[in-house]
C-alpha cells in the first residue's frame, strides 16, 4: 500500500495535467488552478519541514562544536532574528526586517552573483585553449561572436557582427534545437514512465 497509493495519486494527477492541456473549458481551468493553489499551500508546509531540518542540524553542530559550527551559529542567529523582527515589527517599509534584507542579505546575494564574472573568465580561458583543431575552431568562433557583440566589432568591419549573428542564428540555433528535441522527448518518456508507474526509483524502489 505504501507504494501503490503514491503511484495511483501520481497517475491520477499526471493524467489530469495531460488532459487539461487540451480542455480549455472553465471546469478544467478552475480544477487546474485549484491544483496549483494546493501546490502553493503544500509548499508552505514543506518549507516548515526544511526549516526544522536546518534548525536541528545547525543546533547539533553547535552543541557538538563540530567543524565549521561558527557558520551554523551565524546562520541560525540570522534565521531567529529575521523571524522575531518579521513577526514583531512586520515586513513592510521602514521595518528592521526589510532593513536587514536590503542591507545584509541582498548585498551578500549580489556578491555571490558578481563572482560569476570572474568564474566566466576562468572557465572561458580553460574552454578556449587551442589544444586541438576543434578547440581552435571554438576559439575562433568565440572571438567572432564576442567581437560581434561589442562596438569594436562593427568598427573593424560590418562582417564581424553579421558573422556573429549568423553563427548564433544558424549553426548555434540548430545545435540548440537538436538539444531541445532530445530534452523534450526525454521529458515525455520520463513523464510517461512515472505516470504509468514504470519508473519508481523516486519512491525509493527500483
Amino acid at each position: 500500500m505504501q507504494r501503490i497509493i503514491p503511484i495511483i495519486v501520481c497517475f491520477i494527477f499526471g493524467a489530469f495535467m495531460l488532459v487539461q492541456f487540451f480542455v480549455p473549458h472553465r471546469v478544467s481551468v478552475s480544477a487546474y488552478q485549484t491544483v496549483l493553489d494546493w501546490m502553493q499551500i503544500i509548499f508552505v508546509f514543506t518549507l516548515l519541514v526544511g526549516v526544522i531540518s536546518y534548525v536541528k542540524l545547525s543546533s547539533k553542530k553547535i552543541t557538538r562544536t563540530q567543524s565549521g559550527w561558527g557558520y551554523n551559529l551565524i546562520g541560525l542567529a540570522g534565521l531567529v532574528v529575521m523571524v522575531i523582527f518579521g513577526f514583531w515589527k512586520g515586513t513592510g517599509e521602514r521595518t528592521p526586517f526589510l532593513w536587514m534584507f536590503n542591507t545584509i542579505q541582498a548585498p551578500m546575494q549580489s556578491t555571490m552573483f558578481s563572482l560569476l564574472a570572474f568564474f566566466v573568465a576562468s572557465a572561458a580561458y580553460r574552454g578556449f585553449r587551442a589544444r586541438s583543431w576543434e578547440a581552435g575552431l571554438l576559439l575562433l568562433v568565440a572571438v567572432i561572436v564576442m567581437l560581434g557583440r561589442v562596438p569594436l566589432g562593427s568598427f573593424i568591419s560590418h562582417w564581424i557582427p553579421d558573422s556573429a549573428n549568423w553563427i548564433l542564428n544558424t549553426p548555434s540555433m540548430a545545435a540548440k534545437r537538436g538539444l531541445y528535441i532530445g530534452i523534450g522527448l526525454g521529458t515525455i518518456s520520463t513523464s510517461l514512465r512515472i505516470i504509468l508507474g514504470i519508473e519508481r526509483t523516486y519512491l525509493g524502489k527500483k
Binding site: H25, M112, F119, S122, L179, I183, T190, L192, Y202
Partner: protein, 398 residues
Amino acid sequence: MTSPFNFLAYEQPFFCEIMRIHDLKFLFFLLLFLVFLFTFSPAYPQNPVHLKAVDTPNDKGESITLALEGLSEDPAISEYEIWRATDMDENFQLVAKVSSKETTYIDTGVKDGIRYSYLLKYRKGADVLVSPITGPVISRGQWFHTQRVNVLLGVIISFIFILGFVRYAKKAKKLYIRPISGLQAIDDAIGRATEMGKPILYSAGLGKMDRVATMASMNILSSVAEKTAEYNTPLIFPNYDPVVMTTAQEVVKEACSRAGHPEAYHPDNIFFVTQSQFGYAAAVDGIMTRQLPATNMFLGTFEAEALILAETGNSIGAFQIAGTDSTIQLAFFIVACDYTLIGEELFVASGYLSQDKQVLGSIKGQDWLKVVIVFLILLGGVAGILGFNKIIEFFNVG
C-alpha cells in the same frame, strides 16, 4: 454598312456627334463602365463600419470576440463605442470605447448561454452614426482546444512508440543503449572518493519535484547511493527544496537497505540549506572548500549558480560529473566539469544504470521518435520549398 443606331443621327444629331456611338461593342463597354461607376461611386455611400461577433474560440467561456471592420482613421472620429444588449433586455448598453486602430475587442463581461447583440456607435461632427446590429451570439466554453490537435496527435504517436517498445522490451533478450561516458564515469568517481577517503557531494540544483530533471536526478541518486553504501563512502546532499530533501532521504535510505548496509544511511547528510539561489550557491561552495569532496555530482536543474558551483569544485580538484536540461548552463558545465550529461542523457540515466528492461524499452521508443521527428523536419523543409504552407501551419501550436 449602316449602323443600327444611325437613326440617332437623324433624331438626336448633337448627342450622336458627341458620343460617336457607332458600334454595339462600344455601347456594351460603356454600360459596363456605368455599372462599375454606379457600384463603386462615393455618391452612393455604404455604412463603412461593420461589427462581427463570434463566441471566442478555444476558451473557458464567458467571452465574445468582436471583429471591428471598416473603422476610419478620420481625425473627426475620436473613438468608437461598443454597445451590447441581451434578448431579455433589448436596451443597448455601453460596453467599451475603442480607438480606430483597434481591430478586435474581446468582451469578457458576458455570461454563457445568453444571446447577445452588438452595435457600434460613433460621432462624426454633429452626427451620431450607428452600425448595423450584429448577433445574436452566445458564449460557451469549449471542451477541446482545436488548435492543439497537432499536439494531441504528437502525444498519441509518442505514447504508441514508447509503450510499444516497453512491451517489446519485456520479451526482448537484451536492448543495446550506446555507452554514455558520463554515466560510465560514476563508478570511477565513487571509487576515487573511496580510495581518497573523502565524501561525495551531490546536488540536484534549484529544481523542485515537479521538474522532470529533478525526478531523473533522484533516479541517478538511487544508483549512486547504493554504490556509496556498498563502499561506505559518505554522501553529502545539500538541498534547495524541502520536498526534494525528503524525497532524497527516502531514496538514499532505500538504496542503502538494498545494498545491504542500512547503517550507511545518515539523514543528517541530506539536509535543507536555503531557498535563496545565491545563498544556496554560497552554502554549497562553503561545504566544498571545507570538506573537500573527492567527487561532485551536479545533476538536475541549474541556473546562474551552475558555474559558481562547478568552478569552485574545479578549484578544489574534485572529479566532477554534471547534467542538466538547461541548454545555457550546459556550456558552463562542459568547460568546468570532467563529464557532462547533455540534455536527454540525464533522462536515460536511470535505465542505463539499472538496466531495467522496461525503462530501456522506453528509451528505444524515444530514439525511434527522433527518427520520426527528423522525417517531419525534412518534410517541413520540402513543403516550405514547394510552398505547401498548410503543412507548415499544421505544426503551429495555439
